[in-house]
Amino acid sequence: MVELLESSLRLGTPLILAAMGGILCERSGVATICLEGAMLWGAFVAAIVAHYLHSPWSSIVPCLVGGALVLGIHAFATQKAKADHIISGLVVNLLVAGSTPLLCKFLFGSPTNSPNLARADRFHELAIPFLSALPGVGFIFEEMPLTYLALILPFVLHRLLFRSRFGLRITAAGEDPDTLLSCGVKPDRVRWVALCLGGALAALGGAFLSVSHASQFTRDMTSGRGYIALTALIFGNWRPLPTLLSCLLFGFADALQIRLQSAEMIPIQFIQALPYLFTLVVLVGFVGKARPPSAIGRVS
């Protein structure tokens, strides 16, 4: 059971990081289906930086910058060029999905993956003294560094969004940009910042995949996790704390799926479809209650 929960945490971590990034973007009024692209780019940048500099920590800053740049493209397209948010998001996703194998081929001779990272070049579990020795819950305190971040981040974001001036401006940009403008704050400026920050967080989710969970970048390695993160944040009603729970639930569904496979009597294809089935049920059953930011996706 502890093993199952540990696995849920590992599988949930990239979703949490990406979903928190997504909350920032979406609350500011920009539909962000390009979370997927930001994650994939983050995974790619982190893997190559860790490969060349032989340290996982060195990959963090380039990865944050990379994610901010990817959603910077989205911000430019939607805020400056007034493009449709979904179309722009799609373009960004395609751009990243196409350019990463190309760059991989250019750098390493094969478009499918980057070289394997040695054990020292990727993140290790970090046990917190005393806490990790606690019976029962000790396993929570023996995780990858990015997992700790993913568990703390929602609380920070909660505070930022609902208690700080900047957070309230983000919400205002998404709910009622005209009023915000009449108060002398330009909504598109707020969105630029929100998107760059959100992109950086989503990219960190990708970095978890390539330098923490796996040990290399492989083509399309996010395989839809950006969309699942988007689902999780909708399920979490665009609020950090419920979204944290929904991400963990999705991680749990995935972990369970992996463990159920050994039960021979259920067809493997059915079990592997479980997380997606779960997503569908969640969307159909609960999303009725969800209320997106009023100005989301609006092209002014």
């Binding site: 093993e3 001779g109 094969s110 499918t112 796996a214 083509r219 399309d220 390695m221 992996i258």
Partner: protein, 326 residues
């Protein structure tokens, strides 16, 4: 006399220069850096390029629908030999081979049955049986694991051979999982790692990965949890010395090199070629990286079993006899 000799040698040289053939290699989703099956095929073709002076062009397909156009492009451009690696190329090769009856094709891992295609199949179950014996003897917990890539009869064949080999040691439990049911399963190392960790929590201490690039995740898990992993297709012992117990070898490079050499010498033959333990098509890897891990008792036993299989005293159960590949 000397002049005549010189003349003939020049003639011979120019003839052989003319005979430099063009070879197109179409790899499947794993890509040439999967350190495994595609890597083996690519190695064979590169060696032929160096030794025989052929012209080699390699294409890695991003998805299964890209296979057929790649094969057709090579054929249309007049390549002499077009090579398709992997079972997913069966139908594309059948189709393209019918369109270009004068082009020669090599298909690995499946039987096309076309008059201009040489199909090479390996007795994976025999090699897997041997590494199963090694796993069974090495396991302290009496539990060994298997992580397959895509759930297809070919990989079930690996699993069955491995399972029977491990069980032949007595008192061994085998746990098995598959990464997925689509060809994305060959390149999902995070999933491979999670499956391996789940197996390790069930006490498995030797895990055989037949999963393309996803196998790298299995190796990572084994390294972190200090258990053993077994590589596949190519010799992967070097990837993580001390963690990789051995590798089940499938000599795709031999099949590819042989076909290119035959085509180069105009001796290409179509039809089904089977490569097993007796003709060195499959085997297990033993080198300086894993020598410290394999005790003399294990080596003695596995060599004994190998002899028995070659002498046909021991018949390894074949999944294909239960469920044929297509």
């Amino acid at each position: 006399m000397l002049k005549a000799l010189l003349f003939f040698s020049i003639l011979g040289f120019s003839l052989s220069a003319q005979a430099a053939i063009k070879v197109g290699l179409v790899l499947d989703k794993g890509g040439k850096d999967d350190k495994s099956f595609n890597a083996a095929a690519f190695r064979g073709a590169s060696e032929a390029e160096k030794k025989l002076g052929i012209t080699l062009k390699t294409v890695e397909s991003s998805d299964d629908t890209a296979l057929e156009p790649s094969l057709r492009t090579f054929s249309r451009k007049g390549y002499d030999l077009v090579i398709g690696v992997g079972f997913a190329q069966l139908n594309p090769i059948k189709k393209v081979a019918a369109e270009f009856p004068k082009t020669h094709f090599l298909l690995i891992d499946s039987d096309a049955g076309s008059p201009n295609v040489r199909s090479v199949m390996f007795a994976e179950h025999e090699g897997s049986y041997l590494v199963g014996v090694i796993a069974g003897m090495k396991s302290q917990t009496k539990t060994v694991g298997f992580v397959g890539g895509m759930d297809i009869p070919l990989i079930r064949r690996f699993e069955m051979g491995y399972r029977k080999g491990a069980e032949s040691i007595g008192g061994i439990t085998v746990v098995s999982n598959y990464v997925g049911s689509t060809s994305d399963a060959w390149r999902n190392p995070t999933k491979g790692k999670e499956l391996a960790l789940a197996q390790i929590s069930k006490k498995a201490d030797v895990i055989f990965a037949a999963a393309g690039t996803s196998g790298m995740g299995v190796f990572d898990a084994a390294e972190e949890k200090h258990v053993f992993a077994i590589g596949v297709d190519s010799n992967q012992n070097w990837v993580k010395p001390g963690t990789i117990l051995t590798s089940m070898l499938k000599h795709g490079e031999t099949a590819v090199y042989q076909a290119i050499e035959d085509r180069n010498a105009n001796k290409f033959t179509a039809g089904l070629v089977s490569m097993g333990l007796s003709d060195g098509g499959v085997g297990y890897a033993l080198d300086e990286f894993n020598k410290p891990l394999l005790t003399p008792a294990i080596l003695k036993k596995v060599e004994e079993v190998k002899k028995q299989i070659v002498a046909k005293q021991l018949k390894v159960p074949d999944y294909y006899s239960i469920k044929p590949p297509q």
